[in-house]
């Protein structure tokens, strides 16, 4: 009888131990995922902002916007962004009206965890200001 009770205690111990292990896993997985998501977003932000700075370096971004040359702008973005990054770019004027009359997107479909970057663009010839909104996401 005493042996049986010992056995019950062991089973209870094993149950508690496995509960502890599984609950630890349940808690740590979301934390790990959250850290990875935050790193992914940070990386995307660096990539997007760096690319906009490069496009704007010699006024090319402003020239393409002023000429409404959306296909060339889309080609440039596809060339400069790393493989596996989907993008959508929208150009707004000073009144926040959308300027581009066709979509500027590529690299696949924007899925969840989309990061948005706002960039103030000064077009150098006519001194017009635009707001560029670049949305990026990793293709999963």
């Amino acid at each position: 009888m005493l042996r049986n009770r010992d056995g019950q205690v062991r089973v209870l111990e094993a149950f508690l131990a496995s509960t502890l292990v599984f609950s630890a896993l349940l808690v740590t997985v979301p934390i790990r995922t959250a850290v990875e998501n935050s790193r992914d977003r940070e990386t995307l932000y660096v990539i997007g902002l760096n690319m906009l700075i490069e496009l704007d370096r010699e006024g090319e971004l402003g020239n393409l916007v002023a000429k409404n040359d959306w296909s060339t702008l889309s080609k440039r973005l596809s060339t400069l962004l790393p493989l596996g990054v989907a993008y959508n770019l929208t150009v707004y004027n000073e009144d926040m009206g959308i300027v581009n009359n066709s979509p500027i997107s590529g690299g696949g479909t924007l899925v969840n965890n989309v990061l948005s970057i706002q960039y103030l663009l000064a077009e150098r010839i006519s001194c017009q200001f635009y707001v560029i909104r670049l949305q990026l996401s990793w293709m999963k």
């Binding site: 790193r39 990386t43 660096v46 990539i47 760096n50 700075i53 010699e58 060339t79 493989l83």
Partner: protein, 313 residues
């Protein structure tokens, strides 16, 4: 924090601010930005040149880690052209007084084919022939080169590929014209170290003689002027060209009866500097950040990989 460190390396000129071209002063703080840059992510050609471990002027990894105070944090800096250019010899036809070589050219970015404009130079001793071509949207093109059969030796086909406005890359194919031997590996006859618009040429054999030193960019090619000559070391001046292009520096010569053609690019790309993540550190515990960077107005890709502190897996 990691993104901050990576950006810092590309936005800070370091100390002294011109440590790239000043080889007689010790590095106090590491940073790759050009001193007095006007827009972010503009790198100094000489700071990048000193990361090349094949150069006579290279900085050591230990010195860099010491100045960053991150001795036990794995770090790697890789800089490469945005475009991969590969060349292969498709055919060779002897036409009596000349031989026609046909090369296939492939241009890709991250394995995706890209169309580009091509400028090709074929160098055989002092003889240079210049051709243009292009690759299609499938990233494939051809280049025909004819070389006179009155000449022989090691020839180089230098191909510079450009996507407007600022993406320029290169591919180089070494081949023997009218001689039996296969081309020797790079560095067999000379060690080439460009810095501060000077090319240092270290001869590997006392029996060698340099016949020419040249620079090739997308739009220009020039002979380099000799600045100094001493036993085993020669210095040539590199012109400061305003061309959006890497510079390909070629030295041709003879070691007794063997002809050679050796080259280096300025900036020396592609290059990898830093910790070996595949061998010594766990790549799973690392963060890779991709940047577009400018060196002399041409656009390149820079990847900075940072590992976990104390990761010696």
């Amino acid at each position: 924090m990691d993104c901050g460190l990576a950006e810092y390396l590309l936005l800070d000129p370091g100390d002294p601010a011109n440590w790239g071209s000043q080889t007689d002063t010790s590095l106090m703080r590491f940073g790759l930005a050009k001193s007095g840059f006007t827009t972010p992510f503009e790198l100094d050609i000489d700071k990048v040149a000193r990361l090349n471990q094949e150069s006579a002027y290279h900085v050591s990894l230990l010195d860099v880690f010491k100045t960053l105070s991150v001795q036990d944090k794995p770090l790697k800096v890789s800089i490469r052209p945005l475009l991969d250019v590969t060349l292969d010899l498709a055919s060779k036809t002897d036409e009596g007084d000349e031989t026609i070589y046909r090369f296939n050219v492939y241009t890709k970015k991250s394995n995706s084919p890209m169309a580009s404009s091509l400028r090709c130079y074929t160098v055989l001793g002092d003889y240079v022939v210049n051709t243009t071509s292009s690759t299609s949207t499938l990233g494939v093109g051809t280049v025909d080169v004819s070389l006179p059969n009155s000449l022989n030796g090691t020839a180089l086909l230098i191909t510079l590929a450009k996507i407007e406005p600022r993406i320029v890359s290169y591919g180089i194919y070494s081949f023997k014209h009218d001689t039996g031997d296969e081309p020797y590996p790079l560095g067999t006859f000379v060690r080439l170290s460009p810095l501060n618009y000077m090319l240092r040429v270290e001869l590997q054999y006392l029996t060698e003689e340099i016949s020419s030193a040249k620079v090739f960019t997308y739009n220009y090619s020039f002979n380099l002027a000799t600045v100094t000559k001493s036993t085993g070391i020669e210095q040539y001046s590199i012109p400061q060209l305003q061309d959006v292009s890497p510079m390909v520096l070629v030295v041709t010569g003879f070691n007794q009866s063997i002809s050679f053609a050796e080259w280096v690019t300025y900036p020396p790309l592609p290059l990898d500097f830093g910790s070996d993540f595949m061998e010594k550190h766990d790549p799973m515990n690392s963060l890779s950040l991709h940047f577009l960077v400018n060196i002399n107005s041409a656009l390149y890709e820079c990847e900075i990989t940072l590992g976990e502190q104390g990761d010696d897996a």
